[in-house]
C-alpha cells in the first residue's frame, strides 16, 4: 500500500485512510455488541473499546506497512 495517496490534488497519508476505516469497523463492532448487550460482561467498557481500537488500528497498520 502506498504511503501517500493523492486525493483531489492533495496528498493524504495512507495511514489516515486506515484510521478512518478502523473507525468505521469499530463503529460496526460497537453497534453489534451494544445491540446484544455484551458489554455487560466487560469490566470497563470504555477501556475495552479504546483497547479494541488500538488492536484494530495497530494490527491493520502493521500488516499494511510492515
Amino acid at each position: 500500500m502506498p504511503r501517500e495517496i493523492e486525493f483531489a490534488g492533495a496528498t493524504v497519508p495512507g495511514l489516515l485512510l486506515v484510521y478512518l476505516g478502523c473507525l468505521v469497523m469499530q463503529w460496526v463492532i460497537d453497534t453489534v455488541i451494544g445491540r446484544y448487550g455484551w458489554y455487560r460482561h466487560v469490566w470497563h467498557p470504555a477501556l475495552f473499546r479504546v483497547a479494541l481500537f488500538f488492536c484494530l488500528f495497530g494490527s491493520i497498520g502493521l500488516l499494511l506497512y510492515p
Binding site: 492533495a10 460497537d30 451494544g34 470504555a46 479504546v50
Partner: protein, 705 residues
C-alpha cells in the same frame, strides 16, 4: 477512619471530591494533548489544548457529544475558509463581507438548533475566521493552515474523549436511566393515585408542567448519551418511542381529568361519578396492594387484565343513564377516553419493561418516531443580522485603521457572537466571561514571562503552568454560581499562553493580542446592547404562545402520517422554551399553562377526530360537517375572539346534532367521532379554561343550563 457526623461537611466533601477528580482529568487530558501535539510537530499545540479545555465536562457522554459536534463544525468551517480564500484572494472587502455573512449565518444556526448542535454551528463560524484570517496576506498558506487546524482540533477532541471515558468515568447513561425510571414511577403514581374529580386544577397544572419538563429533559439526555453508550444507541429509537407514548398517555390523562371536572361543574355529578367508578380498576391496577414496589412487567399484566374488564363495567354503568340520551353520550365520550388511556398505559408499561430487561437481543420492527422540535425563525434571523453588523463594523474598523491586532479582535468577536446568542442575558454573560478572560490572561502572563523562561523540559513546563491552570477547570465545576467564568479563564489561559515548541517569547505581541481579543469581546457586548436579544423577552413569549395556539391549526390541516407524535413533541418543546423564561408562580405562568392545557386537549381530540373521519363507512355529509368543525376550531385557536368562538361552538354543535341523528343507522362509524366532538364542545364551553374570556352565553344556552 473518622466518621463524619456533620451532613453539610459530608456533602461538601463529596462535591469537592467530584470537582477535583474532574480537575485532575482535565489537567491530564490537557497535558497529554500538549505533549502529543508537540510530538507530532503540530504548528499550534495551543489549539489542541484549548479544545481539550473547552470540551471537558464531568460527564463523558457530554464530552463525546460536544467533541463530535466540535469536530464537525471545525471541518465545515475549514472547508468554508478554503472556499473563501479561493474565491476572494485579492479583494479584502468582498472577503471580509463574505466571512461576516458566514459567521453571522452560523450564529443564526446556533440559535436555531439545540444542545451541542448549536455549539457546532458556533465553531464552524469561528473556525472559518481562525483559518482564513491569518492567511489573508499569504493566500497560498491557507490549505496548510486548515489542515493544521483540523488536526489540532481532532487531536484535542480524541484526547478529551478517551481520557474522560477511560479514567474515573462519570457515565451519563446512569443519569438517563435514573431519570427515566423516576419519571415513569412518578407518572404511574400520578395516574394511580390521583382522585379524579377532587384534585384541584392548580395541582394538575403543576403535574403537567413537570411531565413536560421531564419529556424534554429525557430527550436532551438521550441525544448526548447515544455518543457514550453503544447499548443506548441500539435502544435509541425504542427510547424515543417510550418518551412519545409517555407524552400521549399524559395528554389522555389530562383530557380525562378535565372531562370529569367539567361534568361535575356542569352539575352532572352522576355521569362524573360513573366515570370515576369506571376509572377505579385502572387506578387499582397501578397501585400496589401493600407498600411493595411494582415491576413494569407485572404492571403491564395488571393493566392488560383491567383493560379486558373495562367494556363490561362500562356497559353496566351505562345502564344507569338509559333515560337520558345526553348524559349517556357524555358517559360514552368519557368511557372512550378511559379505554384509550388504559391501552396507552399498557403500551407504555410493556415498553418500559422491555427497556429495563437487562440481557439479550431486542426484537426488531418497532415504529420509528422522532422528537420534533419547534423552532422560530425570527430569533435566528435577528442573531444573524446582529452578528453580521458586528463583524462587518469590526472589519471596516480594521481596514480603515490598518490595526495590526484586527484579526484577534475579529476572531474573538466571531466566537462570542455565536456563543452568547443563545444566552437570555448576553450582556451579563459577556461581563462574566470577560472577567474570566482577564483573569486567565493575567495568569498566562505570569506563567509565560516569569515562570517558564527559567524552566526546561516538558516536566518543568507542567510544573510551571499547572498551579495557575487548575483554577480554570475548578471554575468550570462552579458553573452554577459563576456561569461562563471558567470558560473564559480556560480559553484565554490556554489560548494566550500559546505553548509552542520551541516557545516564542514576545511580550509586545502578547499584549497586542490580549488587547485585540478584549476589544472583540467589548464590540460583541456593544452589538448585543444595540440589538438586544429576543430570548426571554415578553415579545418572544407572546409570539411563542401564538405559535402554541397555532398548533391546533397545524394539526387541522397537516397530513395524518406521524402527526400525533409530531404534535405531542413540538407542543412540549414549545412550552418548555416559553416556561424557561417565565417566572415560577406568576400569573403569566398560570395563563400560559391554562392555554397549553387547552391546546393539548384540543390538538389531541382533533387528531383523533380526523382519524375517525377516515372511516370508510362515514356518510359524506357527516364527514363534511366534521371537517368544517375542525376548520372552525383551527380558526378559533389561530386568533381567538368571541365571533370565532361562536362560530366554532355553533358548527361543533351542528356536527354533534347531525352525528347523533345518524347514530342509530351507523353505530360503528359514528360512536367514536361523536365522543370526540362532545369532548371538543365541552372544552370549548369550559369557563375555567383559557377560552373563558371569549365565551358568550346566548339566551338559549342559559335556558338550557
Amino acid at each position: 477512619m473518622i466518621a463524619i457526623n456533620k451532613p453539610w461537611l459530608a456533602d461538601f466533601l463529596v462535591g469537592e471530591r467530584q470537582a477535583w477528580i474532574f480537575v485532575f482529568k482535565c489537567l491530564l487530558a490537557f497535558y497529554i494533548a500538549a505533549w502529543l501535539a508537540m510530538l507530532l510537530q503540530l504548528e499550534q499545540p495551543a489549539t489542541a489544548m484549548v479544545t481539550v479545555a473547552l470540551v471537558m465536562h464531568p460527564q463523558s457522554g457530554m464530552v463525546r457529544a460536544k467533541g463530535f459536534y466540535r469536530a464537525i463544525g471545525n471541518v465545515a468551517g475549514s472547508l468554508c475558509a478554503l472556499l473563501l480564500i479561493a474565491a476572494f484572494p485579492q479583494q479584502r472587502e468582498l472577503f471580509l463581507l463574505a466571512l461576516s455573512l458566514w459567521v453571522a449565518g452560523c450564529a443564526g444556526g446556533a440559535m436555531k438548533y439545540r444542545n451541542f448542535m448549536s455549539y457546532g454551528f458556533v465553531l464552524s463560524g469561528y473556525t472559518a475566521a481562525i483559518v482564513a484570517l491569518p492567511a489573508i496576506s499569504d493566500p497560498t498558506s491557507v490549505f496548510d493552515g486548515a489542515m493544521m487546524r483540523v488536526s489540532e482540533v481532532l487531536l484535542g477532541v480524541i484526547v478529551a474523549g478517551v481520557v474522560s471515558d477511560v479514567i474515573f468515568p462519570d457515565r451519563l447513561v446512569d443519569v438517563l436511566q435514573r431519570r427515566r425510571r423516576e419519571h415513569f414511577e412518578q407518572f404511574m403514581a400520578m395516574a394511580g393515585g390521583t382522585r379524579l374529580g377532587s384534585t384541584p386544577r392548580a395541582h394538575m397544572e403543576h403535574a403537567h408542567l413537570r411531565f413536560v419538563r421531564s419529556a424534554v429533559q429525557i430527550e436532551d439526555l438521550r441525544s448526548s448519551v447515544i455518543f457514550e453508550d453503544p447499548e443506548t444507541r441500539a435502544r435509541s429509537s425504542r427510547m424515543q418511542l417510550h418518551n412519545l407514548r409517555y407524552m400521549s398517555a399524559a395528554t389522555t390523562f389530562q383530557s380525562l381529568y378535565h372531562l370529569i371536572d367539567r361534568l361535575q361543574r356542569q352539575s352532572h355529578p352522576g355521569a362524573a361519578e360513573a366515570l370515576i367508578r369506571l376509572y377505579a380498576p385502572v387506578s387499582n391496577a397501578l397501585t400496589a396492594p401493600t407498600s411493595q414496589h411494582l415491576e413494569p412487567r407485572i404492571l403491564a399484566d395488571r393493566v392488560a387484565a383491567c383493560e379486558a374488564e373495562l367494556p363490561m363495567l362500562a356497559a353496566e354503568l351505562r345502564e344507569a343513564f338509559r333515560d337520558d340520551a345526553d348524559l349517556q353520550m357524555e358517559f360514552d365520550s368519557g368511557a372512550t377516553l378511559i379505554r384509550r388511556f388504559a391501552s396507552e398505559l399498557h403500551d407504555l408499561t410493556m415498553l418500559e419493561a422491555r427497556l429495563r430487561k437487562a440481557q439479550g437481543r431486542l426484537p426488531d420492527g418497532i415504529e420509528h418516531v422522532d422528537f420534533k422540535r419547534s423552532n422560530d425563525y425570527v430569533a435566528p434571523l435577528i442573531t444573524t443580522v446582529r452578528g453580521f453588523l458586528a463583524l462587518s463594523m469590526l472589519s471596516l474598523f480594521w481596514i480603515n485603521t490598518s490595526w495590526a491586532s484586527g484579526p484577534s479582535a475579529l476572531l474573538t468577536a466571531s466566537y462570542f457572537c455565536g456563543l452568547l446568542a443563545t444566552s437570555p442575558s448576553p450582556v451579563s454573560a459577556a461581563i462574566n466571561i470577560s472577567i474570566g478572560y482577564a483573569l486567565g490572561m493575567s495568569g498566562a502572563f505570569v506563567v509565560a514571562f516569569y515562570l517558564m523562561p527559567g524552566s526546561d523540559g516538558f516536566m518543568m513546563l507542567i510544573l510551571a503552568s499547572m498551579p495557575l491552570m487548575l483554577i480554570g477547570p475548578y471554575l468550570l465545576t462552579r458553573n452554577a454560581t459563576l456561569p461562563g467564568m471558567g470558560t473564559g479563564y480556560v480559553m484565554s489561559f490556554a489560548g494566550i499562553l500559546a505553548l509552542k515548541n520551541p516557545m516564542v517569547y514576545n511580550p509586545e505581541q502578547f499584549l497586542n493580542d490580549a488587547i485585540g481579543s478584549w476589544f472583540g469581546v467589548v464590540a460583541c457586548g456593544v452589538a448585543f446592547m444595540l440589538i438586544p436579544t429576543v430570548i426571554g423577552t415578553e415579545w418572544l413569549r407572546r409570539r411563542q404562545l401564538r405559535k402554541l395556539r397555532q398548533q391546533v391549526t397545524f394539526v387541522a390541516s397537516s397530513p395524518m402520517a406521524g402527526l400525533l407524535y409530531h404534535a405531542e413533541s413540538s407542543n412540549r418543546d414549545l412550552l418548555h422554551q416559553i416556561v424557561q423564561h417565565t417566572r415560577p408562580d406568576s400569573d403569566e405562568l398560570r395563563h400560559l399553562l391554562s392555554w397549553d392545557l387547552a391546546v393539548h386537549e384540543c390538538v389531541r381530540a382533533v387528531i383523533e377526530l380526523r382519524q375517525d373521519m377516515q372511516h370508510a363507512e362515514l356518510p359524506p355529509p357527516l364527514k363534511d360537517i366534521m371537517q368544517r368543525a375542525v376548520d372552525a376550531l383551527a380558526r378559533l385557536y389561530d386568533a381567538p375572539d368571541t365571533r370565532r368562538w361562536q362560530d366554532a361552538c355553533r358548527i361543533v354543535g351542528h356536527a354533534i346534532m347531525l352525528t347523533t341523528q345518524a347514530l342509530p343507522r351507523a353505530q360503528a362509524c359514528c360512536r367514536a367521532p361523536l365522543g370526540h366532538l362532545l369532548q371538543l364542545r365541552a372544552a370549548l364551553r369550559d369557563d375555567e379554561s383559557a377560552l373563558a374570556p371569549f365565551i358568550v352565553t346566548t339566551p338559549e344556552q342559559q335556558r338550557a343550563a
